[in-house]
């Protein structure tokens, strides 16, 4: 009996060793790929960072308001963020390549699916990022315009604009990610519609005098009292 156990054990160890020997080279290859990948990713990151610094990408980002956003979420500068992102992406790519080399069946399929999902994730992130930017820009533009036109409650208007755009952007992001598409669609529809309706009622009811005056001004050219007292700045 002892001999049977020993032979089974040795058989098992043997199988394990064989399996190990079967996978070891692949593991080694995977590690090599990982290391090489890291190197390449690092080089790419450095090059990209230099290029971005050269074209003053930071400046551009500042202009668009991206820097503010990044600093709000305690991220470093746009150049840095982009370079690091590209680094991780590249390395991840190589890692996954290495994993596929291992030849573990299920893993390969998952890897493939993950790779397919990646561009959509990237797109969604981009949409979110630019959407946030646009929302911020539009909100500020609306705020300024409302303040200068002496429209009542400009902050509310600004918030409304920001909300509308954010809702829209989120919907597109979720649709892109394929997460609860239908739900999101309907939710967006309801939210957007409700928001619009609310605004229409608010402005329509509350601002009907203003609307009338606006129309009168445009088509009848009646000068308002306050304009008579306006000075010529130049």
């Amino acid at each position: 009996m002892r001999e049977m156990i020993i032979s089974e054990l040795s058989q098992a160890v043997h199988d394990l060793a064989r399996g190990f020997a079967h996978y070891l080279p692949r593991l080694i290859v995977m590690l090599v790929i990982a290391c090489v990948g890291w190197l390449i990713a690092y080089v790419v990151k450095v090059i990209l960072r230099s290029i971005l610094r050269l074209v003053k990408f930071d400046r551009l980002a500042e202009n668009a308001g991206a820097s503010q956003m990044l600093s709000k979420v305690a991220l470093p500068s746009a150049t840095e963020v982009l370079s690091r992102f590209v680094f991780w992406l590249t390395w991840l790519g190589f890692l996954l390549l290495g994993v596929s080399v291992l030849g573990i069946l299920g893993l390969q399929e998952q890897t493939a699916r993950f790779f397919l999902f990646l561009p959509r994730l990237f797109a969604a992130m981009l949409i979110l990022f630019f959407g946030l930017l646009a929302a911020g820009f539009a909100a500020r533009a609306a705020l300024l315009a409302a303040v200068n036109a002496n429209v009542p409650s400009p902050k509310l208007l600004s918030l409304a604009v920001r909300s509308i755009i954010l809702v829209f952007v989120l919907s597109v992001v979720f649709e892109e990610l394929g997460v609860a598409e239908q739900t999101m669609l309907v939710a967006f529809g309801i939210a957007f519609g409700a928001l619009m309706l609310g605004l229409a009622i608010a402005f329509g009811l509350g601002g009907r005098h203003m609307a009338r005056r606006f129309l009168e001004e445009k088509f009848v050219r009646v000068r308002k009292e306050q304009d008579e007292d306006e000075l010529s700045p130049l």
Binding site: R59, E62, N63, G65, Q68, F137, R140, A141, L143, L144, A145, A146, V147, N148, A149, N150, P154, K155, R223, E225, Q226, D227, E228, D229, E230, L231, S232, P233, L234
Partner: protein, 422 residues
């Protein structure tokens, strides 16, 4: 040269027929049929009276008028084709017109005029605003004489204006140009002015202007180019200036084409203005500019209200632009009631300078920075009106002079925040 492609073939043909000229009067227009006839006749009289022997031409750069403005102008030319009764002229006086676009853009109009002046090798050129109904024939002589006979390159106008007319100029443009560029040009934003062919050609060739083509406010750029280029500048008293009808909604576009242009010019002219300290008087012809003191009804309350609301609503925007201490001061002022409200000169200067620095760094979109200045300007206007409510012409002048000195005193402050990286 790009200029020939910018001008239409038809206009070029008309320029060929005019040939070389000594004096050019440029008229940018857009639907000015009501007033332009009388203005062009006055211009014509001015030319015939003061420069009867010179070869003169009136060039109209039109932005798509549909009320017959162009025909009114060209109909006033003097030539042997149609004898003009009651007008005696030694020479033909051409009045030609071109449409540079279907929507008016002052920079394109000015570019057309400058190009024509260069092609016709004109010695002296003036630009007249089509809204200047108070024009007299002497304006022509006042604006051209210094260029034509005394070798000046730029003649800025001075007027007899109401003390509360043109407050953006008196409270921002004039003091700032004076403090930074060192030239005391009273009407920093010139609606009519004279310039030499030399300055015009130089300005046309400048790259910075080419980049900014399409935006308004080119007159300001021209003036700054004259200052930084070391050209000879003087001022001539013209007379009364009709206050232009302006509505509350016009403040932001006005800010864009004046303050916006000034701020962006600061960037390219940094080397020039950072080295200057103090300011010089500019030679002036004719009477001193007068200040009219008749009482004027102004809705002061609204000005203060817009300031207060602006400060509170735009808090987030101001946080990106102003320093914390300045913002705190503004918040403090916003709490004052009408009797005690005061936007002192020093704070105003700091505000403007910080805006300029923010503009340069593009902390947020530049156009938004300009828009954000509007409510603050209104607050400043309130204070200015209150301070000068009962003042004599001398008092008003002193008040403005005080403001200018404040701008000059705080110039190092601007240089500080300009250079610092936020």
């Amino acid at each position: 040269m790009e200029e020939e492609n910018f001008l239409t073939d038809d206009f070029l043909r008309q320029l060929i027929d005019v040939g070389e000229a000594d004096i050019l009067v440029g008229l940018p227009t857009h639907n000015n049929a009501k007033s332009i006839g009388a203005i062009v006749q006055t211009i014509r009289n001015g030319i015939l009276r003061s420069f009867p022997r010179e070869r003169a031409v009136i060039i109209n750069a039109d932005g798509g008028s549909r009320d017959g403005t162009r025909e009114l102008i060209t109909g006033l030319s003097i030539s042997d084709v149609r004898p003009v009764s009651g007008v005696y002229a030694l020479r033909t006086l051409h009045a030609i017109s071109t449409q540079y676009a279907t929507t008016p853009r002052n920079s394109d109009a000015l570019r057309t005029i400058l190009s024509a002046a260069e092609l016709l090798r004109v010695k002296a050129c003036i630009v007249i605003s089509p809204e200047s109904e108070a024009i007299t024939p002497e304006w022509i002589s006042s604006l051209i004489r210094p260029v034509y006979y005394e070798n000046f390159d730029l003649v800025a106008p001075t007027y007899c204006r109401h003390k509360f007319d043109g407050l953006l100029t008196t409270n921002l443009l004039y003091p700032m140009v004076r403090a930074l560029y060192g030239a005391r040009i009273r009407e920093a934003y010139m609606s009519e002015f004279g310039f030499s062919g030399r300055l015009g050609s130089q300005f046309l060739g400048q790259n910075q202007w080419r980049d900014a083509i399409g935006e308004n406010g080119t007159e300001l750029r021209l003036m700054l180019a004259a200052v930084t280029g070391g050209f000879r500048i003087c001022q001539s008293f013209l007379g009364k200036k009709d206050p232009v009808e302006r509505r509350a909604a016009d403040l932001v576009p006005t800010l864009r084409q004046s303050v916006g242009v000034l701020f962006s010019a600061l960037e390219s002219d940094f080397a020039a203005w950072s080295a200057i300290s103090g300011s010089q008087d500019v030679p002036t012809n004719g009477n001193d500019p007068e200040v009219l003191l008749d009482p004027l009804r102004v809705n002061r309350k609204r000005l203060r209200e817009m300031f207060v609301k602006g400060v509170s609503d735009l808090e987030s925007v101001f946080q990106s632009i102003l320093t914390p201490s300045t913002l705190a001061d503004l918040n403090r002022i916003a709490t004052l009631d009408e009797e005690q409200f005061n936007y002192p000169a020093e704070l105003w200067v700091k505000t403007v300078y910080e805006f300029a620095a923010a503009y340069r760094k593009s902390v947020i979109n530049r156009d938004h920075i300009i828009q954000a200045l509007a409510p603050l300007f209104r607050g400043r206007v309130f204070t200015f009106i209150v301070e000068n409510r009962n003042g004599s012409a001398n008092d008003v002048a002193k008040n403005i002079e005080g403001l200018c000195l404040e701008f000059e005193r705080l110039k190092p402050y601007l240089l500080d925040i300009w250079k610092s990286k936020e």
